[in-house]
Symmetry: D2
Subunit: 145 residues, 4 copies
């Protein structure tokens, strides 16, 4: 895969400071916090397009995680300032796939992938709004080029 242009639609960068309560008796960030940071990455990635998840929810569009995978390579510690890179990797009429890289300085701490399903209020699967389809389409054409 060629390196894509730094397109605001395809990837986003978020800085996150590790909170004290996110760390466990081993003195490192608990593994359950990484999905929370990934979700923040998705929130900021969408915001960069000029829309927000909150707006989607207000219009009855919900995005639910249906699968998640994380590989933990190095621990994150209290007060570390982390950088999360979030990428759209593709999807379908009803799903979106993301990929994540969590860094501390030059060190790669963790990688992850997730799939979101698009739901209507009440939980029925629904088509992804055209705006998000456009983002997915552009991500796929980069992947395939």
């Amino acid at each position: 895969m060629n390196t894509p242009e730094p397109n605001q639609l395809h990837n986003g960068t978020l800085e996150v400071r590790v909170r004290y309560n996110e760390c466990d008796p081993m003195g490192v960030a608990h593994h359950s916090r990484y999905p929370v940071w990934f979700e923040m990455g998705r929130t900021e990635l969408l915001r960069a397009t000029g829309w927000t998840y909150r707006q989607f929810e207000e219009e009855g569009v919900f995005l639910a995680v249906i699968d998640l995978a994380v590989k933990y390579r190095k621990p994150a510690r209290y007060d570390d300032l982390l950088t999360l890179h979030t990428y759209v990797e593709g999807g379908s009429r009803v799903k979106i796939k993301h990929r994540y890289e969590l860094m501390c300085g030059e060190a790669l701490l963790a990688t992850g992938r997730s799939t979101l399903a698009c739901l209507a209020r009440g939980g029925a699967v629904r088509r992804i709004p055209d705006l998000l389809m456009k983002i997915i389409g552009e991500a796929e054409s980069v992947e395939n080029s």
Copy 2:
């Protein structure tokens, strides 16, 4: 529904095991977890009356915490099995007051107090349902006797 015995209306006992992710680098339960346990205590206290918060919410009755105070005396540790005592202390047409005692064996770890406001869907203050009023009324007559 038959009226339960008064002691079930006024206080409830909950056992809670301290989770690994609830503990911080000091090796003890983080102070932000106690309000979560108190909420569980309220949930179980109400269940003992034959009703559940979930039922209330389904009928558009929401209870929001408007003040909270906690005194932390001794730490709770990972895997400790704690006992939480929850009491209704009184209230008004729109508020309920609770008091909490968190024990580990014979040791008193923490005490707390909270006030809940009764809200309608959307957030407007509303009258507390009669069932809860009855609980409050009985608690007050015990306090005042």
Copy 3:
């Protein structure tokens, strides 16, 4: 310590009540809570052998999650009483693999897998204590039989 029956070594069952604060604006348990429940499942699975993670940690043996995968099939709701089945699936001299099934009544809500690495205080990889090796060995012989 007497050797427990093999079935206690290989899988464990945990009941967990969905807490209010674990649910998000969609009204369902947030996906980041499932890894927390899985960890509770591992804690109880080990307890069934007569040992606890807390004892291991006190002796300088730490188990860190190095990969995690979850498939979310149906949502869990506030106050649902869930049943989590946790299985040891194998491992090596320094790793343990688990598998999880989260049920609500007869409904399968989610499945998961994780790998733990065994670490010494300070974070260096170390051999898994013999007791855990024994559990892994028995799990593998069941898988392969």
Copy 4:
């Protein structure tokens, strides 16, 4: 009390974005998150002095919350960008008191107070390091002027 000078030692300002997982089925930030934000406020307040809690912990100085009080006035919602003001209010040789104001734009969402005790590794009470004493002393002289 006169308005103090905007002294980095006495008060600090933190912006915090409300995370999706911090919101509950009422669609607002769960009340147990506020103590987490207050702790972040203390972390940033100390950083403004040129020191960090992490450094203190590495030198065996721990600060444990021994009491906490919060008044919740208006809800915080998903994706709101909040501003937290944290103040040192005084203390003693072994305790520090803080006060908090949480804003969303011009709206005051919540206020809080906490007391921290200074502990050595293992949990025994110990004298507060001179650096922190200096901060407390300056805060008290402002309060008393």
